[in-house]
Structure formats: structure tokens, C-alpha cells
């Protein structure tokens, strides 16, 4: 069964709503009010459909969605955990949802108090001295952070040109450094999956502006040498940037500020409970140590005699990085999440996330190869090279998992592991769910030998089957007009 696109439901002249001519509104000839070159002469090209066509079309499409509200979503590196509905309730309260960003500060004191309290909470969790809630996503937080490091070094009269990034890093790290105008140097991993400290020592020099690090890293492994790593970079005169994408593993247990990091971003849409995966909205607040506070984006939230207000008068600030004050709905959700858990609750979150990942890794280790024999944090990476040699690639296994009712894990990342399959169960899944996933993965491993074509042609149970990803990337057809001309 293929789902038609809305254009295929179009019939000439069909309408959702028809309007009678309004006799109290005078007729206007477009030619009298607009220059002729601004008047469209070609058909509009929009689908002509009835209201129920539209409702049924999109309702049907919505039933094909798979999300954390439908089932297990172990997409490594993405922290796809269940987001309690009470946080949505809080964010939708009229005092938060029905206000305008240009309202006078005095009329939104309640909202500003929540944002201020969230800043305080994130400072405490990250071990930083000041926080800006403005960046709208993780990579946005990275860019904000690296631009602050650049401004800070420039003010000290230092023209450092290089940012160091481990070879296991998220792709956004080198991309951020390059966007900010730095050269990227790659630090190799050692055989335990961590930063090769000797290699790092030989890579730092007077040009080193900083090191970007995720801890735990993308292999789910805690950087055991973090204190030494921080010393090496600091002694060379560089700063440490903490990519908080994996904060779900350490929240309440260890703080980036105490590990020696100078700048941090946190992904509120991952760790602090906002649904994500469809492209947003996200939120990536940045925290900094005291020396970098002057460079935070403006406006900053300050308290004075009249309560809280936005302060735009920040001389050394790198400037605004987003319109208004960030994605406020996500910020309110994050605050509700913090308060509903409390300090002990947040510790339990990261402990359970780590427990679930290690349980799953252990249960899967008979059938699948784990390249690093270490206890992991919140996620782990399998190498499916043995499966590939038996006839099924990581991609085939991932596609087959869909038939068992799960969202597939991340594949082919991080790049340092061949045929990588990266699993992050999160803390919100029960042992029963994890056990069902293990059974599915074991069954799939048997299918590789018994009926490999089941994997090569998977998924079988979905509306659309295996995509031809190579042709889609080489010759993408992105619009209805293009489909009619080329499809």
C-alpha cells in the first residue's frame, strides 16, 4: 500500500471552504492596485481538495509515525527518552504560552522567574558560573561557545588558530570549529576508546585555542584521563569545551565544571525532556566559567529593584545568537522536569540510564561483538563486522529491527568503529522492553544464517519498503513539479 501525496487527491475546482461574495466589500481590480509584474499569471499549483480530504490525508500520515510515545527508540547518541506529559502541561499554561516576547518585563515576571531558576539549576548541574538560555539547539550552543572562546582569546591579545577534536567526536564539533574560523586537528583514540593522551600532548601548541570533548564520549565510554587532558590543554593556554550531548549519563553525578571544562552546552531537548527528532524545536543553553561570562550572548537576565529584566547593555558580548530569548516552551518543560525530579531524582535518571545500557550490552554480548570490553555509561557501540562477514551488514540488521516493532539503533557512527550499531536505551524503558529487544536482536542474528534475504529486503511490515538511498541521494526528487517532470 502506497500513500498518495496530497497533490494526487487534487481535483480541479474542489474547495475546502466556499465564500459568498460580500456585498459590503467593494470589488477591487488587482491591476488597479498592483504593478503588473507582481501579479501572478501562471496557475498557483496548489492541491485542490475538500476539507475532509486534507484531514484524512494528514491523519492517515500521522498514524504511520513512530516515536517514543509508540515504542522503544534506542537511537544511539540521541537520548530518545519518554517525555512526561506534565511538562507539556506546564509549558502550555497561558502565563507561559500566551505571552509575547515584546511585552514589558514587568508583565511577565512569572515567566522570567522560571527562566532565572532554570539558569540557576543548569549552573548547579554543569558546575558553571553563568548560563545563557538563548541557543536553540546543541550545535547552536557549540557555535556560541566556540565564538565566546575566540572572543575571550582575542581580548587577551592571543590569535590562536586551532581547535582539537577527537576522532570519535560528533560531526558537529569539527563543523562548529570550522564555522568559527578555526583549523581542526583530529586527536586519535587509544585502544580503550578514549583520547590518546600522548598524541594529545604532541598536538597541543601555542596555536591551540581549545579542545572540544564529549564525556562520556560517543562510544558511551567515560574519559578516564579527563583531569590530565584538561591540564594538558590548559597548560598550553587553550580552553576546554564540553559537548553536553551525553549529559544524560552523568547528570547529578559529576559536573563538567569540576572536570576542568570552561564552556558547556546542554541539550534540553534530549536530557531535559522535550520531544525531539523531527527537527525541533530544541534548546542548547551554554554555561561558562567566570572569566568567559562577559562574552555570553545578550540580553542577559538580571535582577534589579523592579524584579527581573533583560539587560542588553553587555559590552563584550558576542551578540545575539537567536531572536528574543530562545525556545521558551522548551525551557519551561526543562524547568518542570528539573523540579519534578529534584536532585535525587536526577541522579536516579542517570544511574538508571547507565544501568539499562550496561544490562542491554551484557545481554547482547553473546551474539554481537563489543569492540571495547569496558563498562559503559548511557550507550554502547557494537561492531557488526562478524555479521557482515556472514552476509548481513549493520544496515540490514537495523532495517530488520523495524519488522520486530522497534525503531532501529544508529548505524555507521561513530566512524572509529567498523559496521557500527549504536544503542542508547535511556532510563525510561522497563526491563521487559529491554528483554524484548534482546530477543529480537538474537532472532535477527539467527536469521542471518537461516534466511539472509529476510534481512536484505527488510523492512517487510512497513508501508514503504527498503529505500534506494543511493539513488535518492544522487538524484533527489524533492517537489511535486519535479516528480511530474522526472519521475
Amino acid at each position: 500500500m502506497d500513500v498518495p501525496v496530497i497533490f494526487e487527491r487534487s481535483r480541479p475546482g474542489r474547495r475546502g471552504v466556499r465564500f459568498d461574495a460580500h456585498h459590503d466589500v467593494p470589488d477591487v481590480r488587482l491591476e488597479d492596485v498592483l504593478p503588473s509584474h507582481l501579479i501572478r499569471s501562471t496557475p498557483l499549483g496548489l492541491p485542490e481538495v475538500a476539507e475532509n480530504d486534507v484531514v484524512r490525508h494528514y491523519t492517515e500520515l500521522s498514524t504511520l509515525n513512530y516515536g517514543v510515545d509508540t515504542g522503544f527508540y534506542p537511537l544511539g547518541s540521541c537520548t530518545m527518552k519518554y517525555n512526561p506529559k506534565i511538562n507539556d502541561w506546564a509549558a502550555s499554561l497561558p502565563g507561559f504560552a500566551d505571552v509575547h516576547p515584546l511585552q514589558p518585563d514587568s508583565t511577565v515576571q512569572g515567566l522570567l522567574k522560571v527562566l532565572h531558576a532554570l539558569e540557576e539549576g543548569l549552573k548547579e548541574i554543569s558546575g558553571m558560573d553563568a548560563v545563557s538560555l538563548q541557543p536553540a539547539a546543541g550545535a547552536h550552543g557549540e557555535l556560541t561557545g566556540i565564538l565566546m572562546i575566540k572572543a575571550y582569546l582575542k581580548d587577551r591579545g592571543e590569535n590562536r588558530t586551532t581547535i582539537l577534536v577527537p576522532d570519535s567526536a560528533h560531526g558537529t564539533n569539527p563543523a562548529t570549529a570550522a564555522m568559527a574560523g578555526f583549523q581542526v586537528k583530529v586527536v586519535p583514540s587509544n585502544d580503550r576508546g578514549g583520547v590518546d593522551v600522548a598524541a594529545l600532548r604532541s598536538l597541543v601548541d601555542a596555536n591551540t585555542a581549545g579542545l572540544m570533548l564529549t564525556n562520556p564520549n560517543t562510544l558511551g565510554l567515560f574519559e578516564e584521563d579527563i583531569v590530565e587532558i584538561a591540564d594538558i590543554v590548559h597548560q598550553a593556554g587553550g580552553l576546554l569545551y564540553y559537548d553536553g550531548a551525553n549529559a544524560n549519563a552523568i547528570m547529578g553525578r559529576v559536573r563538567p565544571g569540576d572536570m576542568g571544562f570552561d564552556v558547556v552546552h546542554l541539550n534540553l531537548h534530549k536530557t531535559f525532556s522535550t520531544p525531539h527528532g523531527g527537527g525541533g524545536p530544541g534548546s542548547g543553553p551554554v554555561g561558562v566559567k567566570k572569566a568567559l561570562e562577559p562574552y555570553l550572548p545578550y540580553p542577559r537576565l538580571m535582577s534589579g529593584d523592579d524584579g527581573l529584566h533583560w539587560d542588553y547593555n553587555r559590552g563584550k558580548s558576542i551578540g545575539k545568537v537567536r531572536s528574543f530569548f530562545g525556545n521558551v516552551g522548551v525551557l519551561v518543560r526543562a524547568y518542570a522536569y528539573l523540579r519534578s525530579h529534584g536532585a535525587e531524582g536526577l541522579k536516579a535518571v542517570s544511574e538508571t540510564a547507565v544501568l539499562n545500557a550496561n544490562y542491554l550490552r551484557q545481554q547482547l554480548s553473546d551474539a554481537y561483538h563489543t569492540p571495547y570490553q569496558r563498562t559503559v555509561k548511557h550507550e554502547f557501540v557494537l561492531s557488526l563486522t562478524p555479521q557482515k562477514n556472514r552476509g548481513a551488514r549493520a544496515l540490514d540488521v537495523a532495517k530488520r529491527i523495524i519488522d520486530y516493532g522497534f525503531y532501529p539503533p544508529t548505524v555507521y557512527f561513530p566512524l572509529v568503529v567498523e559496521e557500527a550499531l549504536m544503542v542508547e536505551p535511556t532510563e525510561t524503558e522497563s526491563k521487559e522492553t529491554l528483554d524484548r529487544f534482546v530477543e529480537a536482536m538474537q532472532a535477527i542474528n539467527r536469521e542471518i544464517d537461516e534466511s539472509p534475504e529476510l534481512l536484505h529486503e527488510a523492512p517487510h511490515q512497513t508501508v514503504v519498503r527498503r529505500f534506494d538511498e543511493a539513488t535518492a541521494a544522487r538524484h533527489p526528487i524533492l517537489t511535486w513539479t519535479q516528480l511530474q517532470q522526472e519521475g
Partner: protein, 121 residues
């Protein structure tokens, strides 16, 4: 997997021929998966061995292309713009990527040594 003996190889999985022609190895194309886009170096550019001179994008990843030698870019394989899949289909033939004039190879190894590296991986 085939690693022709008349070519030299780098640890980053590029090959270079005696005529200065350069591409990626059978092992590289297999590891990359279906190649969907190739960013070629500019003809006339002076490159040093080890420089990132282009980009290979596959359905799995985006990887830098490193020059195995120093020299001047004499020719690039324009066919790859329309048919990047040539890298998968014929990595040592029609899937060549660029050609250097007066090529001075950097850190390269023989077919036998490269095979050992790949099998050790």
C-alpha cells in the same frame, strides 16, 4: 579483495599509479558503501602529500580525500560528477579521481604491505 601490484597505497586507503593517477581502494569503496557525491580538487592546484584535497560522500558518511603525493593537479575525473557510483563499480579504473603532474609520493606502501594492513584491521 584486489590490490593491483603496480599501484602504491596509503594507510588512508588511497592508491597512486606510476602515471600519477589517484583513487581510493577496493577496501575503501566497500567500507564507504554507495558513493553519492565527490568533491574534486581544482585542476592546476599545487598539493602536498597528506593534504585534504576533496571529499567523498556516501550513504554512510562524509570523508576527506587525502593526496598520497605532492604535485600539481593535472586532470580530474569529471565523469564522477554525474556518476559517483563509478568509484564503487571500478575503483582502479573508471573510478579514478584525479591525476598529479610531477608527483612525489609521500608515505606510501606496496600492495603486499597494504593488504597486510587491511587484513590486520
Amino acid at each position: 579483495m584486489q590490490f593491483p601490484e603496480n599501484l602504491k597505497y596509503t594507510s588512508d586507503h588511497e592508491w597512486i599509479g606510476p602515471d600519477g593517477r589517484i583513487g581510493v581502494t577496493e577496501y575503501a569503496q566497500d567500507a564507504l558503501g554507495d558513493v553519492v557525491f565527490v568533491e574534486l580538487p581544482e585542476v592546476g592546484a599545487e598539493v602536498q602529500s597528506g593534504d585534504a584535497v576533496g571529499v567523498i560522500e556516501s550513504v554512510k558518511s562524509v570523508s576527506d580525500l587525502y593526496s598520497p603525493a605532492s604535485g600539481r593537479v593535472a586532470r580530474v575525473n569529471d565523469q564522477l560528477k554525474e556518476k559517483p557510483e563509478l568509484i564503487n563499480q571500478d575503483p582502479y579504473g573508471e573510478g579514478w579521481i584525479f591525476e598529479l603532474e610531477d608527483a612525489v609520493p609521500g608515505d606510501v606502501m606496496s600492495s603486499a604491505d597494504y593488504q597486510k594492513q587491511v587484513e590486520g584491521d
